[in-house]
């Protein structure tokens, strides 16, 4: 076999083997990624504005959110998922802060990290008014901590 044809056949073979491995690996990763997620929707209604009281936030366990209602500032929705490793934080009225039971992160009422290993503030989600007058939360839309929804009562 001539050197030139050895090099070209060898290169072709190497490219073929590498692409076969690459395509197979891609297929494995794609196979392991579900095409359909049977998960609760990220956008959901949480009830009428009148259902929520002023004062300490309301915790919705299934949705893992806190709903704040302030007479002057209106509605805001905070995530109850700790930004450290995903445990559910609790709101303590005694110091008006969120505490994570797993690794001791503490968040202020505006979601910023007071201390602990959490790398980011708690997330705030967009809350809007649906056509039927209910509050609607979209967990896919993060909003700044000062986002508020004013509802005329």
């Amino acid at each position: 076999m001539k050197r030139r044809s050895f090099v070209s056949w060898g290169t072709a073979g190497l490219v073929a083997v590498c692409s076969a491995i690459g395509v197979s690996l891609g297929a494995v990763v794609r196979f392991l990624t579900p095409s359909v997620f049977y998960e609760p929707p990220q956008t959901f209604k949480i009830g009428n504005p009148a259902d929520f009281s002023y004062g300490p936030p309301t915790f919705l366990a299934e949705e893992k959110i806190f709903v704040f209602r302030d007479p002057e500032k209106g509605f805001a929705v905070a995530s109850a998922v700790c930004t450290h490793l995903g445990c559910t934080v609790g709101y303590f009225q005694s110091d008006e802060r969120f505490h994570c039971p797993c690794h001791g992160s503490v968040f202020n009422a505006d979601g910023t990290v007071q201390h602990g290993p959490a790398p980011r503030p708690l997330e705030w989600f967009e809350v809007t008014l649906a056509r039927d007058g209910q509050l609607m939360v979209d967990k896919d839309r993060a909003v700044p901590a000062n986002y508020r929804l004013m509802v005329a009562s």
Partner: protein
């Protein structure tokens, strides 16, 4: 000839065990036993050399496979059936609690024994040439043991399981670049749920045990190929042993008589191979130091097996495997603690998820793997390797301290507490 005798002979195909040939053939002609050498050095059978930790680890793995298959018969990897099945195992299935206890305590025992085995191999310097790569395989087997433990304690789908997956997969998501993808592939979704349980089940009962079995075979095979167990450290002190040499054959022109004539025997590997044949000189005294594996090694291994099984059974009679409440995604238990062998990691993670959960553990594993390649000191005598021993001891102590702090000194909200609150209850 007696037909029964003939039938027996067709099975065993060896000479009677009363003869040396029979004792050798018992091993050569048996697929299960031939991982053993026909003869072993007496010194290698001593408990104080190895503490039989490798054997005990392997026996625990056998118990785990056996009890694990039994538990699979009454287990469905779905929510909430998984938890109901735990309750059934506890209260309905005959011997259910006992089998689950055995499975759980053997798993804990295996984590301990793998770690102690690793310590033994380090302190006796047994990872050195030519055994470097077998140490690497050992480290991977240790990681597989932890992986099997992690995927295993998720399956009951209790609070511990749910929050362990939540925290564990979130640690994975801190990995650079592909973190989010890793988490999605592990969970089969974006939140911990049914598909996550099924995926961890598949890992636990099929993928990881298969890898574990394959690598264990390679590990054992290499123990043999690397010359059997390492010499006990105390033997290294003796001058005579230190002079043992393996010599290459002289060039083809030279006669075999070039090998020094002495009382020693010279063995050659008589095979049709290209290149130099291999000759090894073994002193007569060496040879007298060996005994047949049957019955000496097998008897001791049998004792180790019996002690292991009996201990696991005894522990399982008196201590129940923990089971918390049904998994509740809305409520994180406080404190949410992993099993003890992960509490060192949890302690690290409580300071920083990226540093403590990804960077430090990765570096620690890489350092463990690299030990035989970094440590170029050929001596295995403790006196010659003070710094290596100090460094490894520091590693062991740090691990133990982290686990002790995580277990006894951490309370609700991962706050520092004095250890006695776990006994007396919080004030």
């Amino acid at each position: 000839m007696n037909p029964l005798r003939e039938a027996w002979q067709s099975v065993v195909r060896r000479d009677p065990l009363s003869t040396d040939k029979g004792k050798s053939e018992l091993i050569f002609l048996n697929v299960w036993l031939h991982i053993h050498p026909a003869k072993v050095k007496k010194e290698n059978l001593k408990v104080k050399h190895t503490f039989y930790l490798g054997f005990i680890t392997f026996f625990l793995f056998l118990i785990l496979v056996t009890t694990g298959v039994a538990l699979m018969i009454y287990y469905r990897p779905q929510s909430p059936q998984a938890y109901q099945d735990m309750k059934d195992l506890q209260f309905v299935v005959y011997l259910g609690t006992f089998l689950r206890n055995m499975h759980r305590w053997s798993a804990h025992g295996m984590v301990i024994c793998v770690f102690l085995h690793m310590c033994r191999v380090f302190y006796t310097g047994s990872y050195k040439r030519p055994r470097q790569f077998n140490w690497v395989i050992g480290v991977v087997l240790f990681l597989l043991t932890l992986g099997l433990s992690f995927t295993g304690y998720l399956l009951p789908w209790d609070q511990l399981a749910f929050w362990a997956i939540t925290v564990g997969t979130n640690i994975g998501s801190y990995a650079p670049l592909m973190g989010a993808k890793i988490r999605e592939l592990l969970l089969g979704g974006h939140a911990v749920g049914e598909s996550a349980l099924l995926r961890f089940y598949v890992l636990h009962v099929a993928v990881l045990p298969a890898l574990m079995t394959l690598l264990t075979m390679v590990h054992f095979w290499r123990v043999r190929k690397d010359g059997g167990l390492s010499r006990p450290v105390w033997k290294l002190q003796e001058e005579k042993s230190a002079q043992l040499v393996t010599i290459g054959a002289p060039d083809t022109s030279a006669a075999l008589a070039a090998v020094p004539a002495s009382q020693d025997k010279t063995y050659g590997l008589m095979e049709v191979v290209t290149g130099k044949p291999i000759f090894e000189t073994v002193s007569m005294e060496e040879e007298e130091d060996t005994v047949f594996s049957y019955p000496y090694a097998f008897f001791r291994e049998g004792i180790a097996l019996l002690v292991t099984v009996a201990t696991v059974m005894a522990v399982s009679l008196f201590w129940k495997a923990p089971l918390e409440e049904l998994a509740n995604p809305a409520k994180t238990p406080n404190p949410a603690k992993a099993p003890w062998y992960f509490l060192g990691l949890q302690e690290l993670v409580s300071h920083s998820a990226l540093l403590g959960g990804v960077i430090v553990p990765t570096l620690a594993v890489l350092a463990l793997i690299a030990i035989p390649y970094i440590d170029s000191n050929p001596s295995r005598r403790p006196a010659d390797r003070k710094w290596a021993i100090r460094a490894f001891t520091l590693f062991v102590v740090v691990n133990v301290v982290l686990i002790v702090v995580g277990t006894f000194f951490r309370g609700p909200g991962w706050a520092l507490v004095p250890p006695w609150v776990h006994i007396t209850g919080a004030e």
